[in-house]
């Protein structure tokens, strides 16, 4: 943390000096990108995956397929892993998820992209929960991830270098 703070202060100093020295817009752009990178935590797709599973669980628990209180991490993990794993941690560590992920999902996407995708899904479930729209079937609600414009835009933002939604 101390190193990060020192780096942050150093970059802020450089930006100030850069403005005084009338550095070009390209130099300022580079400093901004470095500053953004320095202040962002290291991506953790595993944690994001677990969080997405928990968010999904919280919403799906009220689906008509499940009686109240019957859906737990254990049961949802077993369902999602064809009875192989009992925790979200094991599930996510083995590239399994609430819906089938592409076989090359890990190799073809960086940590940051995967984390971002999971966060988008998590946001989808939390939104449903907040709007009290968790009473649909599991299949319909899960498929909704791919049809929801907010989630689609969120995932586009994950890998778009420009023109992102705030």
């Amino acid at each position: 943390m101390l190193v990060r703070i020192i780096l942050l202060l150093s970059l802020l100093f450089q930006i100030t000096c850069a403005q005084k020295n009338e550095k070009s817009y390209q130099d300022l752009y580079a400093l901004r990108i470095l500053l953004e990178t320095a202040t962002k935590p290291k991506p953790n797709p595993q944690a994001a995956c677990i969080d997405a599973m928990r968010s999904a669980e919280a919403c799906i628990a009220t689906a008509p397929e499940f009686q109240s209180g019957t859906l737990t991490e254990n049961s949802y993990s077993l369902i999602s892993s064809s009875n192989r794993f009992t925790t979200y941690s094991d599930l996510c560590a083995n590239n399994l998820y609430m819906y089938p992920l592409p076989a090359n999902f890990v190799t073809n996407n960086s940590d940051a992209v995967r984390e971002c995708y999971f966060k988008c899904d998590s946001s989808y479930w939390k939104t449903r929960k907040n709007l009290n729209t968790c009473n649909g079937t599991v299949a319909i609600m899960t498929t909704g991830i791919f049809n929801d414009s907010g989630t689609t835009t969120c995932k586009r933002n994950c890998s778009s270098s420009v023109n992102n939604t705030p």
Binding site: S24, Y25, Q26, Y29, A30, R32, I33, L34, E36, T37, K40, P43, T107, N108, N109, S110, A112, V113, C116, N157, C158, S159, S160, S161, V162, N163, N164, T165, P166
Partner: protein, 846 residues
């Protein structure tokens, strides 16, 4: 001599004698002659005063106009001729002891059909080539357009208009490996938006209103600006002894000119105009496919001069040009085979393009003495273009103009014999008005964008409407120091633009030294400078769709060489050059600002603000070029029957690097990165230097012209150049998309993505291009003037020169698709026989 008794005393006496006599020994004796060209005889009985730094030396001319005098040393002197009507001053160099110096006291009266050659400004020797109107007007292979003759000079290459992968320069020229869009064309120091009409053969300047053309191919003086390539300076005619005119018609266009003295010789008026009617001539032959209206254009040049007296002159210049072109490819197809339709690949596409400009210049010149001159020019300039394109996913419809009103001042002051000072400044109020929408390529590294790919379009449409007003100022100065044969010319200019609050300072200097010992003199010269260019009329600087922070493009130019005058007529010039390009504007898909208004105005209501708002363009590009040039010239006196000609040879290399991320060089390109990661990665660009698309290794021109008799003139030109590099097509996309207008499968070409392959970008060249052109002129003289009939035969030995590859997107990739694309200087008769391209024309001069 008693005091000279020792050898030491003898030596002292000898040295003292030498000291006293040295002025006598070093004095230069010469013979001068005052000669009147009008009377064709010497001027007797006149007093001439030779002004030296320390004294004034008088002399008297004899019956033949000769006088004898001595000056302290070799160098440049002012000769003051005392006449009953006043004093005339002439500058002349004394270059050798015992020399006979002729001082021409007036100018030769202009013969029929000839032109006036006025006293020339003192111009730099470095990287400058000058051609006279009479040398280039009848040059073969130019199709009657004098400006095309620039292509025969060292370092100048005119890319083919539609040259395969390299097409698109459209009448521009590449000077020493610089981009063809980075040159500046000036007519009497007034701006020209474009030099050539849409046919890319005919210029916007009437031939007969050109006096000389100077082309600055390297480090140019500080009074010129806004060019990282070269500067083409066209000087117009300034006087006429009597009213004359000309009328010229050819297959391409008609042009007329009239010039006359006014107010008892105190004034001068010249007006010229061109009208292109290719749509009426070639367009009515049936050879042009339905749906194409060939270019229509017109241009006019008007110049008016009034001399109040020898000190005050007022001039007015008007330059206009207007061009239009329309293509509307039929949507369906008339035959059963859509691939046989001439416009099948672009069926349904429509293009309407127009451009033009208007330049008005009002100039007041004050010349109180031969040592001081100041010029004020009020300029109103308005370039504009209209574009309406619909082609698959490409859609653009906008009107753009960038008019300005400016005041410019140029002062020349000669305070001493060894110093001349140029000082100038300019202020402009610029408007940048653009209304409509346009498209841009999403991925600048995509070599084959597919216009019919609607699932993942290669282009994106954006509203580019913007109205901006900005101020622009510049100032320059050059000091011309002359110490005998040594010249040192340091200069600097600064350009400041309110838009983006930015400036560019460009120091530059030229050195030259003339050695008189060898033949007629050897001059060594060298120079360097920093140059800048701003794209005032470009989408790249748009606040809406571009980057308002875009900075001046920069170039640093170095050059040096030797000029050997062999005789009065023969000369050889050799020059080495290097140019470094920085801050070049490139299409940049990563550069962005932290947040801003949504660039998509249609979504602004729902999503008004976006983060990482794209700026689309940056100054990341770099490049360089280097090479050497040799120019051997045999001149003749204007309007004489002597032959003239030149040989120019250039060897050069030119490279570019856009310095942005390129997936082709990335071994991990298959891993999808987040936006943050992509932006970080793009800070460390991996693109490599590639050969510039207009790189030409060797250029050779041999030019010859000879006025055989009063009736005939012949000219010949042989031209050789290496081919430009191109990227070979290695396959197609399998025909994934169709043109919805005719259901024709669109086969999109595929290029190599392996940077280590011999098929990669710009890694191949076709066979060299060469041809021989001749022109024969016949003059029919009459009391009222003359008629000039001419025949021009281009590509005499019928070589099928190749400009690039031509891929038909209506058929898949095969051994015959693509096929070589030939230039149009060979004609095929119905029986298959090839003949050279020819042009006939007639000029009437009265």
């Amino acid at each position: 001599m008693k005091f000279l008794t020792t050898p030491k005393q003898n030596w002292i006496f000898f040295l003292l004698s030498l000291l006293f006599l040295s002025s006598e020994i070093s004095a230069v004796a010469f013979r001068g002659r005052l000669f009147s060209r009008v009377k064709n005889q010497g001027e007797p009985g006149l007093t001439v005063v030779i002004v030296t730094p320390t004294s004034k030396i008088p002399a008297q001319t004899d019956a033949e106009g000769y006088f004898d005098a001595e000056v302290p040393s070799l160098g440049n002197y002012t000769f003051r001729i005392l006449r009953p009507t006043g004093i005339q001053e002439i500058e002349k160099s004394i270059t050798a002891d015992g020399e006979v110096v002729t001082l021409y006291t007036d100018k030769t009266p202009k013969p029929k059909g000839g032109i006036d050659v006025e006293g020339q400004k003192d111009k730099t020797i470095l990287s400058r080539y000058k051609v006279r109107y009479d040398e280039i007007k009848r040059m073969p292979g130019t199709l009657g357009e004098a400006l095309n003759a620039l292509q025969t000079l060292p370092g100048v290459f005119a890319p083919p208009v539609f040259g395969g992968n390299n097409g698109g320069c459209f009448g521009g020229i590449v000077i020493r490996g610089a981009d063809c869009r980075t040159n500046t064309y000036l007519y009497d120091d007034l701006p020209i938006y474009y030099a050539y009409h849409f046919d890319s053969i005919n210029s916007v300047i009437h031939n007969d209103l050109i006096k000389t053309i100077d082309i600055y191919t390297g480090a140019y003086p500080a009074n010129f600006n806004n060019a990282t390539g070269g500067v083409v300076e066209i000087e117009s005619t300034e006087a006429a002894k009597k009213a004359t005119g000309s009328f010229n018609m050819s297959f391409l266009l008609g042009q007329a000119m009239y010039q006359t003295p006014l107010f008892n010789g105190k004034g001068y008026l010249a007006a010229g105009g061109k009208v292109g009617y290719l749509d009426k001539t070639l367009g009515s032959t049936g050879l042009v496919p339905d749906g194409i209206r060939l270019p229509q254009y017109n241009s006019s040049n008007v110049k008016f001069i009034y001399n109040f007296n020898s000190q005050h002159q007022l001039s007015f210049t008007s330059l206009t040009a207007l061009d239009g072109f329309v293509l509307k490819a039929p949507g369906g197809f008339g035959s059963n085979d859509p691939t046989k339709e001439p416009l099948a690949a672009v069926a349904g596409a429509s293009v309407a393009a127009g451009q033009g400009f208007r330049t008005l210049g009002l100039r007041y010149t004050w010349t109180p003495s031969t040592k001081f001159s100041n010029r004020l020019t009020l300029i109103n300039y308005e370039p504009f273009n209209n574009t309406n394109v619909q082609f698959g996913s490409l859609e653009a419809n906008f009107r753009a103009s960038a008019p300005y009103v400016g005041m410019r001042q140029d002062l020349v002051w000669n305070p001493t014999n060894y110093l001349k000072i140029d000082l100038g400044s300019e202020g402009r109020v610029i408007n940048y008005n653009i209304t409509g929408y346009s498209f841009r390529l999403k991925d600048p590294n995509n070599p084959a964008p597919n216009p019919y790919d609607l699932t993942n379009p290669s282009f994106e449409k954006s509203d580019i409407t913007q109205k901006t007003r900005s101020n622009y100022f510049n100032a320059y100065t050059t000091f011309h120091f002359t110490f005998g044969n040594f010249k040192f010319e340091p200069g600097v200019r600064h350009d400041y633009l309110d838009y983006g609050k930015q400036g560019a300072t460009g120091p530059r200097a030229i050195l030259s030294y003339k050695v008189n010992g060898i033949l007629k003199g050897t001059t060594f010269f060298g120079g360097a400078g920093d140059y800048a260019r701003f794209p005032y009329f470009d989408q790249a600087i748009s606040r809406e769709s571009g980057n308002p922070n875009i900075q001046f493009e920069k170039a640093r130019k170095y050059g040096g060489g030797i000029d050997q005058q062999i005789t009065d007529d023969w000369s050889v010039k050799g020059e080495l050059f290097k140019q470094e390009f920085t801050s070049q504007i490139v299409n940049d898909p990563y550069i962005s600002e932290p947040y801003g208004l949504n660039p998509d105005k249609f979504q602004r209501l729902q999503r008004p603000v976006v983060t990482n708002r794209p700026l689309n363009y940056s100054n990341s590009g770099t490049g360089w070029s280097h090479g050497y040039e040799i120019f051997i010239k045999k001149a003749n006196r204007p309007n004489s029957k002597d032959w003239f000609g030149w040989i120019s040879y250039t060897w050069s290399q030119s490279f570019r690097n856009n310095n942005i991320y390129n997936a082709d060089y990335d071994p991990n390109r298959n891993v999808l990165l987040s936006g943050d990661q992509q932006r970080l990665r793009a800070l460390y660009p991996n693109s490599r230097e590639l050969i510039f698309e207009y790189d030409i290794t060797q250029l050779l021109s041999v030019v010859y012209g000879w006025r055989l008799t009063e009736e005939y003139q012949i000219g010949g030109r042989w031209f050789y150049r290496s081919a430009t590099p191109y990227t070979p097509i290695i396959g197609d996309d399998g025909g994934q998309f169709k043109n919805p207008y005719n259901s024709q499968i669109y086969w999109n070409p595929r290029y190599s993505t392996n940077p280590y392959s011999t098929d990669y970008t710009n890694s191949r060249r076709q066979a060299p291009y060469h041809r021989f052109d001749i022109r024969i002129d016949k003059f029919l003289s009459y009391e009222w003037g003359y008629v000039n009939l001419y025949l021009e035969i281009i590509n005499m030995y019928v070589r099928k020169n190749i400009n690039g590859e031509n891929f038909s997107s209506t058929a898949p990739y095969s051994k015959r698709n693509p096929e070589p694309q030939n230039d149009f200087f060979t004609l095929q008769l119905p029986n298959g026989m090839l003949i050279p391209f020819f042009n006939v024309g007639m000029e009437v001069r009265f």
